[in-house]
Symmetry: C2
Subunit: 282 residues, 2 copies
């Protein structure tokens, strides 16, 4: 059985950077916290917990120690509150997310009504939106955008993992609603690149393994696009979940992983599939 790992499986730039910053902070010791999970990987969060890094939902009761801001960023008021409490802040917000936050802030200050193209329930979007000082709308698709009111100057910013197609549809709706539309294309291509590679791979193999947190939107989407092409697609978090029965009559297996999946989890899965393969052909 041939085992093919997608070239760009796993950590994107922002997640890699955030994870390194978190482990560095953990190594320094002292009371260390993250606001929400540092990234959408329960296994990474658990490793950090074993090193003493606790996950907090908010800052209540915290007056001392180090607070790590996760890759998705947090609401501006929360960051300000952390500074006011004189906590040591390790800001691991992805620089691309930071840019989206800054654009929303400057657009708002310049008098634009702001449209954030994204999922209103996602913490990244909730963080980005908090930087608006004027009117702000979260829009998930063109259909939602068609219900936007008539505005003056409209500023558009996207959640970094949005599809370009959705951004396009929202921009077209905005064009009909304002005299000036200023679009910052803050989409990061990491998501699209992983999806394109995974699709190519799914076409060539008999079985796809997608590794990543069940709470990771980009991993779930990765598994979805593979499953559309190849029903024998399995989404798992760890090597223990692999099942030898999945590989019966499989000549080629493809492996990919979401942007928040660490290399060691991928390595473990690759190793375990190798073992299963050796058991198949002793």
């Amino acid at each position: 059985m041939e085992i093919i790992l997608a070239k760009r499986a796993g950590f994107c730039f922002g997640v890699k950077r955030a994870t390194q910053m978190a482990f560095e902070a953990a190594n320094k010791g002292g009371d260390t916290f993250t606001l929400g999970p540092i990234i959408h990987s329960p296994q990474v969060v658990q490793k950090l917990e074993e090193m003493g890094v606790k996950v907090r939902q908010d800052l209540s009761g915290l007056h001392d120690g180090t607070i790590i801001i996760r890759s998705h960023g947090v609401a501006s008021e929360e960051l300000e509150e952390a500074i006011r409490r004189e906590l040591e802040v390790v800001d691991a917000t992805c620089p691309f997310v930071k840019k989206a936050q800054e654009h929303v802030k400057s657009l708002s200050q310049a008098g634009y009504d702001v449209v954030v193209v994204g999922d209103a329930d996602h913490p990244e979007v909730q963080g980005i939106v908090s930087y608006a000082t004027g009117k702000v709308f979260v829009i998930g698709n063109g259909e939602e955008a068609s219900r936007l009111p008539r505005m003056g100057k409209i500023g558009v910013v996207a959640q970094t993992t949005q599809s370009f197609e959705t951004l396009k549809n929202v921009v077209l709706e905005c064009l009909q609603r304002g005299n000036e539309i200023r679009v910052f294309n803050t989409i990061c291509d990491a998501t699209a690149v992983r999806q394109e590679e995974a699709k190519e791979l799914a076409k060539q193999v008999d079985c796809m393994i997608v590794i990543g947190g069940y709470n990771s939107a980009n991993t779930k989407r990765l598994a979805e696009v593979c499953a559309e092409l190849l029903p024998r697609t399995y989404h798992l978090e760890t090597a223990e979940q692999l099942n030898a029965a999945w590989f019966e009559n499989v000549d080629k297996v493809g492996v990919t992983a979401g942007a928040s999946t660490p290399k060691w989890l991928i390595d473990e899965v690759m190793g375990k599939i190798g073992e299963i393969n050796r058991d198949k052909n002793p």
Copy 2:
């Protein structure tokens, strides 16, 4: 025979303003010139000529008198040259065109590469483009836009008479070519409104009369959209061109006029059709 005149036939805001300014200047007397025809109506231009207003293609040899800038505007260098020559300048540039010129200037100065959505041969576009101090592209449709290079910040401005559809297609192409796209929708709805009204009318009548200069792009387009719905569509400049034979077996006739067609030309045509009607039913 019923004769129906479209509600919004004739002069748009900018043309009406420019024509008034030109006649006022003509009434003042003295050497008075326009740079190119004041509007795309040979009959208005002729009337002004009879009052002593001469049409010049450029400023060469002019050192005295009044120069009227036409509704489409002129190149920035030409306006500066007129001021340098201490000519009296009557700037009859349509305020909506002026706005497009100003946006191009400020976008250029702010470091944007500028895309002007319009017809490169049209004097309005040539004037607008001249306000760019950096890179500028004139793009007539989405297909042309697909050949644009990758840019940094892209500013988009439209010729005031462009269709919204074309603007949309160009914006979509630009979205794929820059990180920031700033669109000023400078399309004036006068053109679209006249076309929509004319289409509605063409559906109800047996014959359409479209009045306006043969050199007027918006009048030609008006005649085209009517002819698509009603082959018995006639584009004429003056009442003398009307032909009684056109109205045989006609119960209802529709009349419209381009944005540069003066009221007195429309009145003459309406009067002449009335006469033809009376001759038909003595």
